[in-house]
Symmetry: C2
Subunit: 235 residues, 2 copies
DNA sequence: CGATTGCTTGATACCTCTCAACCCAGGTGG
DNA sequence: CCACCTGGGTTGAGAGGTATCAAGCAATCG
């Protein structure tokens, strides 16, 4: 499949908008590039500090976004205050593209991060006449769907050990060349992503360290010591 | 949004293929109809008896399907034998449309059912030149995504009571005019959809009946007696 | 240095799973 | 017609895993 990319028409040290960026996978190889299909970025890069809202649930979804740097979470809040994180978005990932006119989730900065925004309408009108682009958009949507299904699978069948192991494997897959993972998110973030409590996540990580599957030099840094064993636990 | 439909070029007592059919919602109002965009059904209607495989995980995804009658489940099996149901598909729903070349889930007949199949390539080539159709496809994919996210939410935060209540509300939403629900699926199916055990589903339903939220004239028939209360429990 | 925040660890309670027995309806065959 | 069998469903008792509540620890920051 060709790697079609939307470019941003700015002096641009920014990466091109690649539809269907990494979704947790670092096929982040040099952006394919297609000068004929361009969607204008709306305004300059925007910066958000940790925990700042990027958009709220129910807000107008005229814009969608791309992570330039940092990590973004999309999540939902329940009446009782519990939070469920649907996904983490890393540099290169798109988020906030919706079928309806409103954002169905809210987006927040997990750590200090930078994003650029695009008009959905621009993308849609362009896709009308650009078959290849519309195919890319379809592919992006379907891969988002696959990711969500995988997440549902994770949440559905599983003990804490399975969930946390699968989470680590997911993160590790994002940087296959390295065994070191820097966690941008808190234990609470991980818990809300996995449908667990902070304490259970912490206990499970401690247990993995006791069992020599990982090492935790600091709370936010993980060294994978036995990926195969984690992968085994993860399902 | 216009209700574009793909038609089937057969003598046809069959409903047209509507992209983005019901997904659990019975906006099944008279099929919008667009004779210029047609995708040929591949072969005649196929019939499957209960528990029969329609396609398996990893099989070639050249075809996708539409439920004509009955109910289909798409699911995944784990190494330890546990099954996770991703979704139930009812009459009018499309399933099996993938981004990749293989089916990521398997599809099975929940009860005796009839489906028609379509070539993915046919849809893709048509979409290349038909902007409105490609928009429909995008919309379909995004609504599938929204459904999956909702499912993940359900699996993530929740007690058995919440899950089962939400499931019943989902089913009730599919037939808003009636308070009677016919369950095509077994308790085990429901359990695998909700990430619970059969026993817990059964106990929870019994409890709902004791609390006068529902009535169970037979195991496979549910009368909703207090939808508002269920809705409250469901989140 | 004290305060704050994120994290870890412990004790206990609660919910769900597991295992088991039993029930019930439908189908089959004598 | 009834005995029997089968598959799906219900219900109970006990075990186990995770949530809850609480205390303590470490790093960061004013």
């Amino acid at each position: 499949m060709t790697q079609l990319a939307l470019t941003i028409d700015r002096p641009t040290t920014m990466p091109p908008v690649r539809l269907g960026g990494s979704q947790w996978a670092r096929d982040r190889a040099g952006g394919g590039f297609e000068p004929t299909s361009a969607v204008r970025a709306v305004g300059p890069v925007q910066y958000f500090t940790r925990d700042r809202d990027i958009y709220g649930e129910g807000e107008d979804a005229a814009l969608f976004f791309k992570v330039v740097s940092g990590v973004v979470r999309t999540c939902k809040f329940r009446s009782d205050g519990r939070r469920q994180i649907d996904s983490f978005h890393f540099a290169g990932d798109l988020f906030g593209l919706e079928a309806g006119s409103e954002h169905s989730l809210c987006a927040e900065a997990v750590c200090d991060c930078a994003v650029v925004s695009y008009r959905r309408r621009g993308l849609e009108t362009l896709a009308e006449s650009d078959g290849a682009l519309s195919r890319q958009i379809f592919s992006f949507a379907m891969r988002s769907l696959a990711r969500s299904q995988k997440h549902a699978l994770l949440l559905g069948c599983g003990t804490a050990v399975e969930k946390v192991a699968a989470f680590l494997v997911e993160l590790a897959a994002a940087a296959p060349e390295s065994t070191a993972i820097a966690l941008a998110m808190t234990r609470q973030d991980i818990a809300d992503y996995l449908g667990l409590t902070m304490e259970t996540v912490s206990r499970t990580l401690s247990r993995f360290e006791r069992d020599c599957l990982i090492e935790l030099p600091t709370a936010r840094q993980v060294w994978i010591k036995n990926l195969a064993a984690l992968r085994n636990l993860g399902r």
